[in-house]
Subunit: 152 residues, 2 copies
């Protein structure tokens, strides 16, 4: 279950964390973005307790990040697979930014374990700010501007 | 105190969350990126218990996200202010990606309360993937590639 207080916040960071910020959820999403779909595969990859995993997946389905799709292996009972929706796939940007920050500021002794690359060209990718003309904008030139909807 | 198990992980997303993933930490960082520096101002903006706020700020200092700087208002005892380091300012990308996702997929009835704009031009900004030639790469063309450092 997501944190109701956060999902009702006027701050979109707080709302996102209301859905995504529970322990395990980002790591479940990491596995999903690497192609994991089955309950048992999430469990094995993460070593997470089944009841916690079921609760986190249910929240992700409830908020439209994943969909539940039945499948059936031959000779087994039907089970559910969990697939990212388009909204879920957009979390690649969030996960990529966390990965990039961790690789820069909490480095692993052997170097990054996963790199972000462009399909086709293989060029290394970073996550950053882009203006509506497609130009990258450096951090020093990024402003957070309150709108008329900002609570007073 | 950060989650030791996560900060020792080979996964940079897990390490980042080991430092950043405690409840309140992202919201403290949001305030810091909007210019808040003083303990009392964080406390007032967030309504967070002082002991929890002190613990979260201590973790952020421990991991090099913030520095503690003494200040003294006239007639008061010396106090500490908390300033983002360059590593802390780079979290703008993480916070911006969470904000963007929340505004798209968990919208606020009155619209976004904060927008990302380029200083000078005022152009709207989004967070996305950029290759080493400065070109934006769409999500469908982003690959996560395991390196030789990936644990087997």
């Amino acid at each position: 279950m997501a944190t109701a207080k956060l999902t009702g916040s006027s701050c979109s960071i707080a709302r996102s964390l209301g859905v995504l910020g529970e322990r395990w959820t980002f790591l479940i999403l990491r596995e999903a973005l690497m192609g994991t779909t089955r309950f048992g595969a999430f469990r094995e990859a993460l070593g997470v307790a089944p009841d916690v995993l079921a609760a986190r997946l249910a929240t992700l389905v409830e908020y439209g990040v994943m969909t539940r799709e039945p499948y059936r292996d031959e000779g087994s009972r039907p089970r559910d697979a969990y697939l990212l929706t388009p909204a879920g796939r957009e979390l690649q940007v969030v996960l990529g930014s966390l990965q990039q920050w961790g690789d820069s500021h909490l480095p692993w002794p052997d170097g990054p374990t996963v790199e972000r690359r462009a399909r086709g060209t293989g060029r290394p990718l970073r996550v950053g700010f882009i203006d509506d003309g497609g130009r990258e904008i450096g951090l020093d030139d990024v402003e957070m501007v309150r709108t008329a909807a900002y609570p007073t």
